[in-house]
């Protein structure tokens, strides 16, 4: 039997209910391809993403985390993504400061009409994370199976 040892990263995508989740849906109905190892988690707004969610995802074995929300100015709750933008900037900077590889985390603004952008972003992100390799620095060995 042949074992496929090729590294397939696990990607967690937090998508806001109003734009990016619909964008992901659109890329599906348009039959655009994006890797199956992207696991989408729907959140009400990009600012619902607690920094803890991101760290927890890494702890439980994610190799990359991407947060998708409405474009700044288009938030369903008017200002949610502006707050998220500041928080995520500081969190990413902190992860970099602690020596975590750059590129494992990302924020992308995807509207409900941008199915193509969603698929392209995911393809690109999976490629970046595949190059970075397995997430060793933030994983928790107890959570490995």
């Amino acid at each position: 039997m042949q074992v496929n040892n090729e590294f397939k990263p696990t990607i967690v995508a937090f998508c806001c209910n109003w734009c990016s989740y619909a964008g992901a849906d659109l890329s599906g109905t348009n039959r655009l391809n994006y890797p199956a190892n992207v696991k989408i988690i729907r959140v009400p707004c990009s600012c619902r993403v607690n920094p803890m969610f991101i760290l927890r995802a890494f702890q439980r074995g994610a190799d990359g985390v991407i947060i998708c929300g409405c474009h700044p100015g288009d938030c369903h709750y008017t200002t949610g993504n502006y707050y998220a933008r500041r928080r995520m900037t500081l969190l990413f900077s902190m992860l970099d400061y602690l020596g975590i590889e750059k590129g494992r985390t990302r924020v992308e603004w995807v509207s409900a009409a941008e199915g193509a952008k969603f698929a392209a972003t995911m393809n690109e992100f999976v490629e970046t994370v595949t190059k970075l390799g397995e997430n060793k620095r933030l994983e928790d060995l107890r959570c490995k199976n």
């Binding site: 702890q59 500041r86 928080r87 900037t89 602690l98 990302r106 928790d140 060995l141 107890r142």
Partner: protein, 326 residues
Amino acid sequence: MQELIKAKAIELLENGTVDRVLGWKTGEFFYDLTPAVFTSREEIEKDFVYSVFSGANLSKYLVKESRKDGKVAAFLKPCDTYSFNQLLKEHRIWRDHVHVVGIACDGMCDMEKIRAYGAKGVLSVERDGDTLKLETLYGPMTMNKADAEAERCICCKSRKLVAYDEKIGEDGDVIENSGRFDMVAKLEAMTPDERYAFWQGELSKCIRCNACRNVCPACTCEKCVFDNPKSGIAQKAAVNSFEESMYHIIRAFHVASRCTDCGECSRVCPQNIPLHLLNRKFIKDINELYGEYQSGADLETRPPLMNFTQEDCEPSVVYERGGKQA
């Protein structure tokens, strides 16, 4: 100074301005002063201590004390007044119940530094101007106060009292270019691997005593995620050190933009982890990305993380700024 403060405490109690006084008394050791509440002249005369080890920030204790009946007097050093202001801004302290006595401060001392200087078996430390007179098991000793100053006081950000009802001594000014971000900048200049090694070395020492959280004047939630056993990070990790990193990132993030950089977290850490470097990283980033901000300096401005502008930078800016790629 101690006599002035004691006299003030007794005066305030006896003329009926306040019912309680928040100050310091000797803890387990003479250099280990703990916050204490005094209610009578006798207690103050017997136990009240103000020395070069009165580092403890009393403002957090006012959250509970100011909610009780009657008035409480608190002695606050300049850095403590910043925390006090920040707590007022968050409506955590009932201002009407507090009488703040600001005390001028020119730096507290750190027992570790005195030991590192070569003093053994220290029995007492007396300050005399710029020198410290030590009484040790092996005879008396003197050293410069500057050599014993705590790390956080060497790069003090401000000697100005920003909130007080009355003050003892003359306070100073805000200190520009205090050099408090030097160590952060040094870490930023390292490669990611070096940084990772540095933080693994430091954070793996953590015993999860939660002292940094308990002492922090910005951590005043009644319910805390770290007390929730279901959070998965409520205790010391048994297998590897990731939980410690996660705990410290989250702890620092929860106080980001509200942290006044008082340095209490590092002071109380039994493992001497430089926790202030995490808080200062956030402060430095906020200053660079969203404009200079000192929390607690006033009562009006919104903390940067509770605010935004339409022109804010995108998170990807973090990856474009200096530093080497991993």
